[in-house]
């Protein structure tokens, strides 16, 4: 509130110049602040500035496409999601958990969707939903946590990578002017590895109550006091996130996304994941400048009694597909600008285990849904499920590097051109894209 504070911004605002690297730290979090915030991260934004920021955001959102990244944590059993129902060995290896030929929702005479994913069928038929089978990581770890880490950092095998692939993809995008605090947003209490990095990204658990010291159109005195503390803090980690926090709070107050209710007839599953996607839609409808959104959905680690047509996995798939379909329909015309891509750290064993479940495997299935997507097709080279075709004799092999899929999504949706920066060392070449979009 006092002039003194504003003077200080010059020495924390611009890490691009590297002046304050030592002070902010070179850790993952330390890198996360950007110069853009310096202008709007003050405790009291002049009205004209707020207006101009909002105006730009609106223009940007109108022109720009949006990428929604969804992570199925726990290793989803892709072989029961998009079922290779012509494979005899599939049924031999899964005596009680296989999805039978006459139960799948046929896609192309080779593959069929799990019947619990009926919500995806029309999207596939309309040509919006593409499927990439036998996708995955070149790294062979069977650790959930390492595999997720590699997939989120986009650098399989390299643990030291400080940031996430999506953060790098956004950084690579050509932008002009100031960027919205909501450019990269994750639904949840924590910022996922995928979005960590230099570019500011925010985590929001609940759009409706993301506010310090009370709702309402104006910030509360408490909020201003906290903002003064965090603005002034020499604690790099807390200071940076604090700045992002207060800017986001202000923008949310102005835009009030919570009042955008789902379009008529659209019902999101009443689950955390359904609720997350509903809120992604609200943020997008409120024109807050969202370019990349992230959400995850857990509970895929079906070691025990995963079920077949019904059961644990079926319930999860129903929620998963119905949430995504609801989001797609809710976005209406704007869905044309949106690309949704899904992933899971690895697949599960081709054979069922001793307890009616499956253990940690390798290759898996990814979904890509979008306005510009050439859907209605199962992409990727199918490696087969004969015993001698299995990875290490036990899992679906990987024929498509997940980075090739994400790279194409980033390239076409966000306009990321420098794929070497997004996926260092992967040698992702647009000429080798699957061309699903």
């Amino acid at each position: 509130m006092s002039a003194r504070w504003k003077l200080d911004h010059s020495d924390w605002g611009c890490d691009m110049a590297g002046r304050d690297l030592a002070r902010r730290g070179v850790s993952r979090r330390g890198f996360m602040k950007s110069g853009a915030l310096a202008l709007v991260g003050t405790s009291a934004i002049p009205a004209f500035l707020t207006r101009s920021v909002m105006a730009e955001v609106t223009t940007a959102a109108a022109n720009k496409k949006k990428l929604v990244v969804l992570f199925q944590r726990g290793a989803c059993d892709g072989l029961s999601v998009v079922v290779p129902y012509q494979e005899k060995n599939y049924y031999a290896m899964r005596p009680t958990i296989a999805i039978k030929q006459d139960q799948v929702l046929d896609l192309d005479g080779r593959f069929g969707l799990h019947p619990a994913m009926a919500a995806f069928k029309p999207l596939y038929e309309q040509g919006h939903l593409a499927i990439v089978h036998a996708a995955g990581s070149p790294d062979t770890t069977r650790s959930h946590f390492d595999a997720q880490d590699y997939m989120e950092s986009g650098t399989p095998g390299l643990k030291a990578t400080p940031d996430g692939w999506l953060n790098r993809a956004l950084r690579d995008e050509k932008t002009s002017g100031k960027e919205s605090a909501f450019r990269a947003v994750a639904l949840g209490t924590q910022l996922p590895r995928t979005l960590q990095g230099k570019l500011p990204a925010i985590a929001i658990a609940n759009v409706a109550d993301f506010s310090v010291g009370g709702r309402g159109p104006a910030t509360s005195p408490i909020s201003d006091a906290f903002q003064a503390m965090y603005d002034q803090s020499s604690d790099a980690v807390l200071h940076g996130t604090g700045a992002e926090t207060f800017e986001a709070v202000k923008m949310l107050k102005a835009a009030d996304p919570a009042h955008y209710q789902p379009a008529a007839g659209i019902v999101y599953p009443n689950t955390p994941f359904g609720n997350n996607l509903k809120q992604v839609a609200q943020l997008m409808k409120a024109n807050l400048g969202v370019e990349a959104a992230f959400s995850d959905i857990g509970n895929w680690d079906t070691h025990q009694n995963q079920g077949n047509v019904n059961g644990q996995l079926a319930n999860r798939l129903k929620e998963f597909s119905e949430s995504i379909a609801a989001f797609w329909k809710d976005m209406g015309d704007d869905a044309e600008n949106i690309t949704v891509v899904t992933m899971s750290e690895f697949g599960r064993t081709a054979r069922q285990n001793g307890t009616g479940g499956t253990d940690h495997g390798h290759g898996n299935v990814m979904f890509v849904l979008g306005g510009g997507v050439k859907g209605g097709k199962v992409y990727g080279k199918w490696p087969g499920l004969d015993n001698d075709q299995l990875n290490e004799g036990r899992d679906l092999a990987v024929t498509t590097d997940f980075r090739n899929v994400l790279g194409e999504a980033a390239y076409r949706t966000l306009g990321s051109r420098n794929l070497d920066a997004v996926f260092p060392g992967a040698k992702i070449d647009p000429r080798n894209f699957l061309n699903f979009s």
Binding site: M1, L21, R23, R24, V26, S27, R29, G30, G74, T96, P138, T140, T141, R142, S143, F145, D146, G157, G188, T189, Q190, L191, I202, A203, I204, A208, D209, S211, G213, G214, R215, S220, P221, I222, D224, A225, A228, M229, Q232, S233, S234, D235, A236, V237, L238, H239, T241, G242, T245, G298, D301, H303, Q304, N305, G311, N353, G354, T355, G356, D359
Partner: protein, 754 residues
């Protein structure tokens, strides 16, 4: 001004005089230093005795209370630490008195399950037409539970959309039930399957019906035991409307004067499993806040996180957690690692959580018998649900997360050569599979009755023959095979390194100096994994007392909440709102689904949403509008005048800093507090914003629900047991600047570090 000089300032001054040698050391450790602004220029300076005491309290306890720093200084650091290392020598009467309100927490899982049956039990009873128990108390609890179960079934049948769940669930519980039930446990406020809600939602005005032959007023006027018996006599189909007809004040009268056992019974009528879930979470939080055996509490928390289990795993897991904490982890928290490892491997909670209880040898007697049965009745539910072979989940996580660590994993693209030396030749997928075979037969006796008989080794499930694990041939020897492998793992240098690193991250810094880790690992190996010895080595390391790690750790949400309560000397009469706040703060207790547990790193906990939640929590707590938690700032500061103060005084602010932070805040924090704490009505605004409506002042039950319920709607909350509602009345009246000052300090950047 000198008095106001803050730590950062002090360190900056001192830093100018630092010697070149230490400067070079800092440059090597550049990123680490840069992460810690409070320690910006302290190099070459040693911590003062006062700072050392504060540092020790910050690391070995859930945060200093008023007067703790002085007490530690008086006792002497080393003596204090040794005392904490030997919790048996510390009287914990205060805590035990507080926990006496949860008598169920003293029960075995089996007794818990008997007294507070699970929804699954009702399902079984309904199927098998089991008669209700004859004991009047149990009879009422079971009758209400059965009625609730039947209502649910009817509801599901009416919805029609729900497909029947067959075969898939060996747990014998539909996922919908499991979900509803689990939701009830961690967020009782959101439990839509509440026994009381489905019937009639409209609270009637006018004359009320009689229940069990008595008017509502007459029932409430009865002495506690008679009142309880009368309520137990109300038929299940009427109990819901009885509750709904109660006026807010009367809900308090319902339990008034009851002893904890009586209150538990009353609560069990609403949902027995919720009593178990709620008390488990509440007592864990209260122990962290109020135990005088703080290091034991800290280490118990560390191991509960290391050997993570998840309350929502299934319908059985909640019944196993209190015993897991009380019998498995806490007694060994400062003991030998191998004892702890074996105890977790033998705990029903872990065997259930990581599925080993179902894993059987593919060539075992059980598998052969199962196959025979399956031939006989191939499509029967039982045949499908019967385990047929190994489940490698536990074997993998035990190696990867509990002992030697995933960095020692060997695969096609991670060769042995690439491993760090402590890994030796690492482990492969074959080691995991073979270890899973070794672990077959390690199971739970009567798992559906609260793990009735506890751990058991079932020879019939065990895979025979010798197995090759980590380069050693394990000869066929029943349960002893696994003990042999557990011994190999517990004494492996890789485990010593892994555990030492994790401890150092918890206690020293996010990126701890290698020297400390190495020293700790050496002690680990030399002492046979003696935690006391390992912690002593850390305590005796100069790196632990280095100014570069002073206040370098960002608090986890649990540390934040517990330290705020401790620093404020808050009185908690109902911990459920706090338990629910943990959800909001992103760290639900026993709520980490995956076996890696919560992170100890700042990165994971500093996010926009996390900060918003912390600031709001700080304000609501300081203003006394967090239901069930009371603060008394005048008492804390020993200064009655602060309550009546109209304007913030610097003296009060400074006193609060010392009380809450244990040391002066940075100057900018002080300035911000002084500039902003003079606006009246701030807490009121905060509570309004947090949807703490007018009811919050007089009705904790609804207040709790509204605080944590995302929608702020009228939901029922679980008020905890053994408490009178009238005890819980909280209000934000007479809010003076001290409330805002305290709240701002608790939400300040300074308070987020330890």
């Amino acid at each position: 001004m000198a008095k106001l000089l803050n730590f950062a300032g002090l360190m900056r001054e001192a830093g100018k005089a630092s010697v070149t040698a230490s400067l070079c050391a800092v440059m090597v450790a550049g990123p680490l230093l840069a992460e810690q602004p409070m320690a910006k220029a302290p190099v070459g300076l040693k911590l003062t005795e006062e700072q050392k005491a504060l540092h020790a309290l910050n690391r070995f306890t859930f945060g200093p209370r008023q007067g703790d720093v002085a007490a530690v200084e008086k006792m002497g650091l080393k003596a204090w630490f040794e005392r904490q290392l030997n919790p048996g020598s510390i009287d914990d009467a205060n805590l035990n008195a507080m926990l006496a309100r949860f008598p169920a927490m003293q029960l075995s899982p089996q007794a818990l399950m008997q007294k507070f049956p699970s929804p699954q039990m009702f399902r079984q009873m309904a199927r098998q037409h089991t008669p209700l128990p004859s004991d009047p108390v149990e009879n009422a609890i079971y009758a209400n539970g059965m009625a609730q179960y039947e209502r649910q079934q009817a509801l599901q049948a009416a919805q029609g959309a729900k497909k029947p769940v067959q075969g898939a669930d060996a747990d014998g519980m539909s996922p919908a039930m499991a979900a509803a039930d689990a939701a009830a446990m961690n967020d009782p406020a959101a439990a839509s399957t509440d026994a009381l809600t489905p019937v009639a939602k409209v609270r009637k005005r006018g004359p009320r019906a009689a229940y069990a032959g008595e008017s509502v007023e007459a029932i409430l006027a009865l002495p506690p035991q008679e009142r309880l018996m009368k309520i137990l006599a109300i038929p299940p189909d009427q109990l819901a409307s009885f509750r709904q007809e109660l006026r807010p004040m009367e809900r308090g009268q319902l339990v008034a004067g009851m002893n904890p056992e009586q209150a538990e019974i009353l609560a069990a009528l609403q949902g027995p499993v919720r009593v178990v879930g709620a008390e488990t979470l509440e007592s864990r939080l209260l122990r962290d806040v109020y135990s005088d055996r703080q290091l034991e509490a800290v280490m118990t928390d560390f191991w509960l996180n290391h050997f993570n289990v998840y309350v929502r795993k299934n319908a059985q897991e909640p019944y196993l957690l209190s015993s897991y904490e009380r019998d498995t982890i806490r007694p060994r928290a400062l003991g030998k690692f191998e004892d702890l490892l074996v105890a977790t491997a033998e705990s029903p909670a872990m065997l259930m959580y990581l599925d080993n209880w179902q894993s059987i040898g593919p060539n075992s007697m059980a598998a052969t018998r199962g196959a025979r049965f399956a031939r006989f009745a191939p499509n029967s539910q039982l045949a499908q649900a019967m385990p047929k072979g190994i489940n490698e989940n536990y074997a993998r996580e035990l190696i990867e997360l509990h002992t030697i660590g995933v960095r020692c994993e060997v695969s096609a693209d991670h060769t042995v050569k690439q491993l760090e030396p402590s890994c030796g030749s690492g482990y492969t997928q074959a080691d995991v599979t073979n270890f899973a075979k070794v672990l077959t037969g390690w199971t739970i006796d009567r798992p559906y009755q609260g793990g009735g008989g506890g751990f058991t080794f079932d020879e019939r499930r065990h895979e025979g023959g010798s197995k090759q694990v980590l380069g050693v041939t394990i000869r066929e020897d029943g349960a002893k095979e696994a003990l042999q492998v557990l011994h190999m793992l517990a004494t492996s240098p890789a485990t010593a390194a892994f555990i030492s690193h994790k401890l150092a991250v918890r206690f020293v810094s996010d990126d701890p100096p290698k020297a400390v880790e190495d020293r700790m690992a050496k002690t680990f190996l030399a002492s046979g994994g003696d935690m006391k010895a390992v912690l002593r080595t850390m305590f005796d390391s100069p790196e632990f007392w280095s100014p570069t790690v002073y206040r370098a750790k960002v608090k986890t949400p649990l540390e934040f909440v517990a330290s705020a309560l401790r620093a404020s000397d808050a009185q908690v009469v109902n911990a459920m709102p706090l338990v629910q706040a943990m959800d909001r703060l992103g760290m639900p207790l026993y709520g980490m689904q995956t076996p890696n547990g919560y992170s100890w790193l700042a990165d994971e906990w500093v996010s926009t949403t996390a900060l918003v939640s912390r600031m709001n929590f700080a304000m609501v707590m300081s203003g006394g509008v967090l239901p069930g938690t009371r603060t008394d700032w005048a008492k804390l500061l020993g200064d009655p005048s602060v309550d009546g103060a109209k304007a913030p005084s610097l003296k009060t602010e400074k006193a609060l800093e010392m009380a809450l932070l244990g040391a002066p805040a940075v100057e900018k924090t002080t300035t911000a507090v002084m500039e902003h704490a003079d606006r009246p009505g701030q807490v009121e605004a905060a509570s309004k914003g947090l949807a703490l409506g007018p009811a919050a002042g007089g009705n904790d039950e609804d207040g709790a629900a509204m605080l944590v319920g995302a929608k702020g709607g009228k939901k029922r909350g679980y008020a905890g047991v053994g408490l009178s509602m009238t005890d819980l009345a909280s209000s934000a009246e007479d809010e003076g600047p001290v409330v805002a000052m305290a709240g701002l300090l608790l939400g300040s950047p300074d308070f987020q570090r330890r």
